[in-house]
């Protein structure tokens, strides 16, 4: 069974069609790149997957369920923004995740934090920006979820942090899960992706594995992207 499945999925804001007629079927064990310019509909799609937005029409299933409480248990979301309570200490955040998510692995989180020398007794707001983002990522990846939805995980960080984030994603790879990475920094993540989805003006214009693109077109995903989305 596909982990994420959509049929003619649509999302409209007034007259603006943010996501148009999207058909998708993602099997488990893949790291998938959701690629497209800003405003193309990637974030809208992710929000429908994690239940923050309801589709205007069409169908969306996560592990066979329509978005709801069960799917929220199955989806681990890393938003683009700082959404966690900043006044909490890191260890309090871990306790909270343990409380709400049965699939959360606290030992894993503590280990990753220790590897980065992050003091768990500090409040989130007192950490550096880079560390704050890493904490959010660690909390997200410490869940044993069926879908990891990462919205621009490497956006505002330095190259070394980017490497760390990508390595973390690789190391937490789970063959029963789908990792969905929405980004516009394609060259940096290409090597980590199994499959890419190009979203243009709300439509899925390409659904292919990275190897297929490189073998059949002899170019990188980044180069193909520049062609497809040339302004």
């Amino acid at each position: 069974m596909a982990v994420i499945e959509t049929k003619a999925l649509n999302k409209k804001y007034g007259r603006i069609e943010a996501v148009k007629d999207l058909d998708l079927s993602l099997e488990k064990g893949q790291i998938v790149g959701l690629l497209g310019p800003n405003g193309s509909g990637k974030t809208t799609l992710i929000k429908m997957i994690n239940g923050l937005l309801t589709p205007s029409s069409g169908e969306l299933y996560i592990k066979g369920f329509k978005p709801g409480v069960e799917t929220k248990l199955a989806v681990s979301y890393l938003p683009e923004r700082n959404s966690l309570p900043e006044w909490m200490k890191v260890k309090e955040l871990i306790d909270m995740f343990v409380d709400f998510y049965p699939d959360f692995r606290a030992e894993k989180a503590y280990k990753m934090l220790a590897d980065l020398d992050i003091d768990v007794s500090r409040k989130l707001k007192n950490l550096s920006k880079g560390n704050r983002e890493k904490v959010q990522l660690i909390l997200c990846m410490s869940r044993n979820a069926d879908v990891y939805a990462l919205d621009e995980p490497i956006g505002g960080v330095d190259p070394a942090a980017r490497d760390y984030i990508l390595r973390t994603i690789i190391q937490n790879y789970n063959e029963d899960a789908v990792v969905l990475i929405s980004t516009h920094l394609i060259a940096d993540v290409e090597n980590v992706l199994d499959r890419v989805l190009f979203i243009k003006n709300g439509e899925l214009v390409l659904n292919s594995t990275v190897d297929e693109i490189r073998e059949e077109k002899g170019k990188s995903v980044d180069a193909l992207f520049r062609e497809v989305f040339a302004c």
Binding site: T54, N82, S83, P85, W87, D99, F100
Partner: protein, 271 residues
């Protein structure tokens, strides 16, 4: 799940309210102490002392306002931050239904409102310690007896009145916050002007409440007329009016809950 949601709502709000309440209790204690000290003849007339007593008393009054108004304000801010804005990305991806999340806010608000009442009573108690004697308390209650008798009459019986007070307290504790939550969520519909939208929703709500209130009061027109023109005891009109206004509170509260529930279901409209 509801318990967990309430737990974290509670913690978020506690970090502001506990200091507020502590300040209130401390200022009550200080006010009491300064009054005790002021009874010492040596210090009477000492300007610095008089001024500081005045300041301490003012501080106590302000602290009371802070605790009481602060409670509802902090609850509103917490709802606003949690349900709109960046934190909403976390709130609404928790494995809890929207109704559970909403009830979490309501029950948490009710708990803190109760706590605030207790703290308020405590602060008054602290203020009065040493000042009020048992005899004075008895005199106060003796004087109050006839007034209460009138009130019991108006409500039909003592039990009836107590029932009314209990119902009213419960409704206020839960519904007090509802209209603000409703305004905030309703305001979210107007993108780009969400806070203005909240104010607009508040005005519309108040107009609606006035409208309903007037109509319902008019149903008691006959009784009111009796009271004014034929000077029948105020009590006969008083009780039904009180029950009516309580019913209004309750009904509006329920409607507001339903409205919020529907609005959240339709679209969260965050960011």
């Amino acid at each position: 799940m509801l318990g967990k949601v309430i737990k974290y709502d509670f913690k978020a709000v506690a970090r502001y309210l506990i200091p507020f309440y502590a300040v209130l209790l401390v200022s009550a204690a200080l006010a009491n102490i300064s009054r005790l000290v002021s009874e010492n003849d040596m210090l009477k007339g000492n300007l610095i002392f008089e001024v500081s007593t005045g300041l301490i008393t003012a501080a106590y009054v302000l602290a009371t306002l802070l605790a009481v108004i602060g409670t509802i304000v902090i609850l509103i801010i917490h709802y606003y931050k949690s349900f709109t804005g960046d934190a909403a990305y976390f709130t609404f991806t928790l494995p809890a239904s929207n109704d559970t999340l909403l009830w979490g806010k309501i029950i948490n608000g009710a708990i803190w409102t109760c706590i605030s009442f207790v703290i308020l009573a405590l602060s008054i108690g602290i203020l009065m310690v040493g000042k009020v004697t048992a005899a004075q308390i008895k005199t106060f209650f003796d004087l109050a007896k006839p007034i209460f008798a009138e009130i019991y009459n108006a409500f039909g019986s003592k039990t009836s009145f107590i029932l009314f007070v209990v119902c009213w307290l419960v409704i206020v504790i839960f519904m007090n916050q509802m209209e603000f939550y409703f305004c905030i969520t309703a305001g979210q519909i107007i993108k780009g002007h969400r806070i203005l939208g909240a104010f607009a929703a508040y005005i519309v709500l108040k107009i609606a409440q006035q409208f309903v209130s007037t109509i319902l009061t008019l149903t008691q027109y006959a009784k009111i007329k009796e009271v004014i023109i034929e000077t029948t005891a105020v009590g006969t009109a008083f009780s039904p009016l009180m029950w009516i206004s309580m019913a209004e509170l309750a009904i509006f509260g329920v409607l507001e809950y339903i409205a919020i529930s529907l609005l959240l279901k339709k679209s969260l409209n965050i960011e």
